[in-house]
């Protein structure tokens, strides 16, 4: 079944890439929606029987895709029937079928059939609209952001069940189901959140504990704080240098930290670390390596004088490694901060320490403590790739490498902005009623809270219902407890957990409150703010201009960060980075710091387009990258210092710039041990060209690990063998070339000129050169990444349409249908007339009927 799906989709792409843009064809087809139905079906089935029936019928239909009245339901309300008809349309549109040697239908006959089918499809989609789910449950990120904005509490939703994605995004109403387990976690979360937000009693007495770290035998030094706390203070197996503990490298016993203590109150605490470091330059690295290598050479030569020549040669070769390899252009030392509560250690942060012991830095972190037994650890986290030349010497004390220095650790808290804290005052605000008329006050509290929680005006009966919860609980409990029960009722209500949109006018536009919520969950992944809610209440979201003004305001708000994180993060597959990482022995340069940098790079690159209104076509090829020092070292781009990301201009020599050169894309489309041109080709098709090539066909097989008769079979050689099979070639002839053009990037995303066959994947002099020559689906030759980018730029309309479709899918929380094509096409036109900037596309989406209609 999958075979034809791929063939069809790919056939579609040939046309798009090679001949005509497809959107027009689809739009014109819409006008045929009202063609007479009954004989249309007969005509279509007759046509298909004539031209397709020969092969696509019988007991073994070609491509396992029968085209017979039995196999093709004309009930277009069936999703699976629509799928099949859609595939037929795509194939007919592409002129890929019937095969060239078979009898060909007349163009106008084909057009009539295509129009009829398309008309039925659009009709069915329109009528299915009311059955299309638009009632969206808040996903985990939206829940946490909404709680932050509604209550002012930072809530970690990672214990909630993961949300499934559909159409590439996890905010799809249809896919976001709800089960009793969800309700249970929502109930528990509501109580936890409100317990934290609403305080009682006097302000807890804050503590401020400072610990000076010293090198001592393990667990031999304690500091008595109070009756309960006699804290262990460890400096690890390191060197003491004045006040400072100097850590040379990571090992099980080189961590510093404090443990075996319990804070008096649960809550937010600040951890302050006094840190410094030293970063040796290249000369120091070479000098230290030279000394170590000389000693080894001399020792070996003394032992085996006959092999002196060999020892000399090895000395020279190894020294050259230290003189030339980029890994010794060290960045500042890195530290990892861990917090242990109970039995589970957790990494709070990994960060550069760019400060000297003369001018040390104080790093501050805020985290939540429980009253469980706790520990805080600081570990060395600068990774130098372990390779043949250095694995034996790099942990030796004499080897020059970034060194981390620790002086003190301080804990302070619980932190409260005021007492009672803002979260408390926002819900239980000052009011004379609080003392004089408690029930009236409770009503006020609920009224205010519910309007914000439900993101709309609230009816009296709704408030009454929650007030009843309060009244009932108040019979037994104190005011705070009773109001928490009522507020919990709000936080598990469908009006809070979902984004309900009422069906007052079928297919009509949304109400102002509903538009406000759509906008805020689109751009902020959170609830509307006061400005948006009052605009809605005042009827000021009724014209496109008013909505556009809100979009502009919202994009400038820091909360719009969530849009980059969730939209770009999912579109570019950044959440998948690290799930199947390059094998460490084959790709020693890939480390944790690089991995987090690659994820950040994807976000920052996208953000740059948003921030500086850069032409989105530059996403295909840009003369800049957005990187930090770690990535610069990996990519070989000089002159970038520091862990922060910034825009750096690059020339063509850098081979970077554009989505297809992102480390994140290149590693997630590899297999851990080798590149996968198939995955890369698929990525380009899905995410840049908007074509889903579907899943591999049954019975196709993976690429074989070795090609008979070729000693050093490259990934390309092996793939070519696979494509020799006709059932594979049909699709892979279109997918693979796109990926093969990227073969110069290895599975970790690093540039290479040869495919390595040496020890642990090392490149040897006689290893095969990378052949990144390839063909676009229309047959035009391309060479390497530059060629691919040029070819993609030549097809910019496909990219723009793909980007717009992804954006609409995310904005509307549902998958796009044929009926949405005109709205998407219009948004693309608007973006084109506005210098191709992302903001323009976002604005156009926000005022499009796809977004403003139910």
């Amino acid at each position: 079944m999958f075979v034809n799906r791929i063939v069809c989709r790919l056939a579609g792409v040939v046309v798009m890439l090679g001949m005509a843009p497809s959107t027009e064809a689809q739009e014109s087809a819409r006008s045929a929606a009202s063609a007479p139905a009954a004989d249309g079906a007969a005509r279509a089935l007759g046509f298909l029987a004539t031209y397709c029936g020969k092969c696509h019928a019988g007991s073994e239909p070609k491509g396992d895709f029968p085209i017979t009245p039995e196999a093709l339901s004309t009930d277009f309300n069936r999703v699976d029937a629509r799928e099949k008809w859609g595939e037929i349309v795509d194939v007919l549109n592409s002129h890929d079928m019937p095969p060239k040697k078979a009898p060909q239908p007349k163009t106008e006959d084909t057009a009539a059939v295509v129009d009829w089918i398309t008309g039925r499809l659009v009709e069915a989609e329109e009528s299915a609209r009311s059955r299309t789910v638009v009632l969206r449950r808040l996903n985990r990120a939206e829940y946490a952001n909404t709680i932050r904005d509604l209550i002012g509490v930072d809530f970690d939703p990672s214990g909630f069940p993961e949300d499934p994605a559909a159409g590439g995004f996890d905010n799809n109403g249809g896919a976001l189901t709800l089960s009793p387990l969800h309700l249970e976690v929502y109930l528990a979360a509501a109580r936890e959140i409100l317990d934290r937000a609403l305080v009682e009693g006097p302000r807890p007495r804050p503590i401020r504990w400072r610990f000076d770290v010293r090198v001592v035998p393990l667990d031999s030094r304690r500091k008595r704080i109070d009756q309960r706390n006699n804290v262990l203070v460890n400096g690890g197996n390191n060197v003491q240098e004045g006040d400072w503990v100097r850590i040379h490298h990571q090992s099980w016993d080189t961590g510093a930290g404090i443990r075996d203590f319990r804070v008096p109150e649960p809550g937010l605490y600040r951890i302050r670390l006094e840190l410094a470091g030293r970063t040796p330059d290249r000369a120091a690295v070479v000098a230290s390596a030279r000394a170590i290598l000389e000693k080894r050479r001399d020792d070996q030569t003394a032992k085996e004088p006959k092999r002196k020549q060999w020892h000399d040669r090895q000395f020279a070769e190894d020294l050259r490694h230290f003189e030339t390899d980029r890994m010794y252009d060290y960045g500042p030392p890195r530290a990892k901060l861990t917090l242990q509560l109970g039995s589970q250690p957790r990494t709070l942060a990994e960060f550069d320490v760019d400060a000297s012991p003369e001018k040390p830095a104080v790093h501050e972190f805020t985290t939540r403590f429980t009253t469980e037994t706790a520990g805080i650890g600081i570990e060395y986290a600068y990774s130098i790739p372990k390779v043949l030349e250095n694995f034996w010497l790099q942990t030796g004390a004499k080897f020059a490498r970034p060194e981390l220095m620790v002086r003190s650790i301080e804990i302070e808290g619980p932190i409260h902005d005021a007492w009672p804290p803002a979260s408390h005052r926002a819900i239980l605000f000052e009011s004379p009623l609080a003392r004089t008329d408690e029930p009236a006050y409770a009503r006020q509290v609920l009224e205010r809270f519910m309007r914000r929680a439900y993101r709309r005006a609230v009816r009296v009966e709704e408030i009454d219902a929650k007030l009843a919860l309060y009244r009932d609980a108040r019979k037994r409990e104190a005011f705070r407890q009773a109001i928490i029960v009522a507020l919990s009722g709000v936080l598990v209500s469908p009006s809070f957990l979902y984004l309900p949109e009422s069906e007052t006018t079928p297919g009509g536009t949304l109400g102002p409150d509903e538009i406000a919520s759509r906008l805020s969950y689109f751009l902020w992944s959170s609830m509307p703010d006061e400005a948006l809610l009052s605009a809605a209440a005042a009827g000021k979201l009724s014209t496109p201009e008013e909505i556009r003004a809100q979009v502009r305001r919202m994009l400038d708000d820091p909360k719009a960060e969530a849009f980059t994180e969730n939209f770009a993060g999912q579109w570019l597959g950044l959440r998948a980075v690290g799930t199947n990482p390059p094998a460490p022995d084959l790709f020693p340069r890939y480390d944790r710091h690089l991995e987090t940098s690659m994820i950040a790079e994807g976000q920052e690159y996208f953000r740059e387009f948003l921030k500086s209104d850069t032409d989105v076509r530059a996403m295909i090829r840009s003369d800049f990258v957005v990187i930090n020092e770690r990535l610069a070292r990996f990519y070989g781009i000089p002159g970038v210092k520091g862990d922060g990301f910034r825009r750096v201009s690059v020339g063509p020599d850098s081979r970077r710039g554009g989505l297809v050169t992102l480390g994140a894309m290149l590693t997630t489309t590899s297999n851990g041990t080798r590149t996968s041109p198939v995955k890369r080709g698929t990525w380009v098709m899905k995410n840049l060209l908007g074509v889903d090539p579907g899943l591999p066909v049954a019975n196709a097989g993976e690429i074989s690990p070795k090609v008979p008769g070729i000693d050093k079979a490259t990934v390309r050689d092996r793939l070519e063998l696979h494509r020799a099979l006709p059932q594979c070639a049909r699709c892979h002839d279109k997918i693979d070339p796109l990926g093969l053009a990227l073969e110069n990037f290895n599975a970790a995303g690093e540039w290479r000129d040869r495919e390595g066959f040496g020890w642990k994947g090392r490149i040897q002099a006689d290893d095969p050169l990378i052949d990144a020559r390839s063909k676009m689906p229309d047959g035009s030759p391309i060479d390497g990444v530059a060629g691919l980018q040029a070819a993609l730029l030549a097809q910019e309309d496909l990219f723009l349409d793909c980007l717009a479709t992804k954006l609409f899918t995310y904005a509307c929380g549902r998958e796009m249908t044929r009926g949405d094509r005109p709205a998407i096409a219009a948004a693309v036109r608007e973006m084109k007339s506005n210098r191709y900037v992302l903001r323009s596309l976002i604005e156009a989406a926000a005022v499009s009927p796809a977004f403003l209609r139910k």
């Binding site: 069936r78 999703v79 699976d80 009311s130 059955r131 789910v133 638009v134 009632l135 214990g159 069940p161 993961e162 499934p164 559909a166 159409g167 109403g173 896919a175 189901t177 709800l178 089960s179 387990l181 969800h182 309700l183 109930l187 589970q344 990494t347 009966e461 709704e462 219902a465 929650k466 009843a468 919860l469 037994r476 919990s488 598990v492 209500s493 469908p494 009006s495 957990l497 979902y498 309900p500 949109e501 009422s502 069906e503 460490p584 022995d585 084959l586 297999n671 851990g672 041990t673 899943l695 049954a698 019975n699 196709a700 097989g701 993976e702 690990p705 000693d711 066959f757 642990k760 998958e815």
Partner: protein, 447 residues
């Protein structure tokens, strides 16, 4: 975070040095790491429960079917190369070949319908209509007597998307029930007391929850009137969850005087991560240990456990299980698949061993536990992802009326629906179901 510790043996290294594409000792590498981290958990001596139980274990991507299906049939069959792993338990299970779900679409949606037998009419990645899974019928019956009606376990939390389900369980409306993948969270849910203070406070808390949920039902009704048909269906899903949660809160209130069973976390590797290739053996073991503990404490009698989601899975030593399942008949890939199959069966065998070692009312715990193990996909002789001839094992349940039959083979062309097996297994586990899905009856040959 992931560990970057290098594997004990670089396969690539071996390959390069040998300069040949030999079948690599994948299993050795995997068992080595498994052995290095062997769980210290030991089964209890005795169980006081003596109730029927049901466990369904799903493995993704099918198996190397060539090495899986025994060449002989009947009780005295010779174990196939893969099934040899279960040699110590050979009288405790039946291997069933030839069956499948007639409605299954194949591809990668096998887990979605493995226990439901539904015709999904699905567009992959979008919504679909599934139907109740067989375990949920059992949960309905047994749930009255246990703290949890059923448990859903998986290596990915949540429900997953349609056609790529992370869970095997679907409720009465066909809504997927999200799965738990963290051993620690599962342990806390099962065995760590709720900290609500004293009995009165706990009861008060439950009463409050109940009144919150009562109120919501009314609220949702008024909301429902304004919504379109699709949205109403969505809201029904919510309302049905509200009702079930209400029932559950009532049940919990009834349980307030019965504290959660005391199970020490010692010897349980609760920090094992499901998404970490290195942790894989430990993670499978600890999840199965928690299954064992949930059963022996009668915390629940119904558990479904998707070892990996379809098209996912771990191949060990950097291999990709799913890619291997598209083997195209390649001998090297098939042998790696078989190694993964043996690895999985070792985990299963260890679990069966625990149930065998525990005495229960004069029998063994295994005799009242029905264990269904298999895949909803057959990677076939050529890597086709077929829904026919599914690799399937039924183990345990002797005291529940199951008579093991060695290798029970059905002709692929005219096999009974797999729902027959589900009906047989469920009814052995106390199901009392007159029918299930498209079952034409119980499966002949097992009783």
């Amino acid at each position: 975070m992931r560990s970057f510790a290098s594997s004990p043996l670089s396969r690539r290294h071996v390959l390069r040095v040998a300069g040949a594409s030999v079948a690599l000792p994948l299993l050795d590498a995997m068992t080595r790491s498994a052995r290095a981290a062997d769980s210290k958990f030991r089964p209890w001596e005795r169980s006081d429960v003596a109730q029927p139980r049901f466990l369904a274990c799903y493995i993704p991507n099918g198996v190397n079917i060539k090495e899986w299906i025994p060449s002989e049939t009947g009780p005295r069959y010779a174990l196939s190369p893969t099934l040899k792993v279960l040699e110590p338990h050979r009288d405790e299970f039946t291997v069933i070949s030839g069956i499948g779900h007639p409605n299954s679409q194949g591809g990668h949606s096998g887990a979605d319908t493995w226990l439901t037998a539904a015709d999904l009419q699905a567009k992959p990645g979008s919504d679909y209509a599934n139907s109740i899974s067989v375990d949920q019928h059992l949960a309905e019956i047994h749930g009255k007597h246990t703290r949890f009606g059923s448990l859903q376990l998986s290596d990915a939390s949540g429900t997953g998307g349609a056609g790529h389900s992370h869970t095997l369980s679907f409720d009465l409306n066909g809504t997927p029930l999200p799965a738990e993948n963290s051993p620690r969270r599962l342990f806390e849910r099962l065995f760590v007391p709720d900290s609500a203070g004293d009995r009165a406070a706990t009861l008060r808390r439950y009463a409050e929850r109940k009144s919150i949920l009562d109120g919501i039902a009314a609220e949702a009704k008024s909301l429902e009137r304004k919504l379109g048909a699709g949205d109403r269906a969505k809201l029904d899903e919510y309302l049905s969850s509200v009702r079930q949660t209400e029932a559950r809160v009532e049940r919990l209130a009834a349980w307030v005087d019965r504290p959660k069973p005391k199970v020490p976390p010692t010897d349980l590797q609760l920090a094992s991560k499901p998404g970490d290739a290195h942790d894989r053996p430990m993670w499978l073991d600890v999840m199965l240990e928690l299954v064992y503990l949930a059963f022996i404490t009668d915390t629940t009698r119904v558990i479904t456990f998707e070892w990996s989601r379809e098209a996912g899975g771990y191949g060990g030593a950097g291999e990709n299980h799913h890619e291997l399942s598209h083997h195209g008949g390649d001998a090297g890939m098939l042998s790696k698949l078989a190694a993964i199959d043996r690895f999985h069966l070792q985990r299963l065998g260890r679990f069966l061993g625990m149930l065998t070692a525990t005495q229960e009312a004069g029998e063994r715990m295994l005799d009242r536990t029905v264990v269904l193990y298999g895949s909803g996909m057959n990677s076939g002789l050529g890597g086709e992802h077929s829904p026919k001839n599914l690799p399937t094992i039924l183990a345990g349940g002797r005291k529940l009326g199951i008579r093991h039959a060695g290798h029970l083979a059905f002709p692929v062309a005219s096999h009974p629906p797999m729902a027959n097996l589900l009906l047989t297994a469920a009814n052995a586990a106390g199901g009392e179901l007159p029918r299930f899905a498209d079952a034409s009856g119980t499966l002949a040959g097992l009783s």
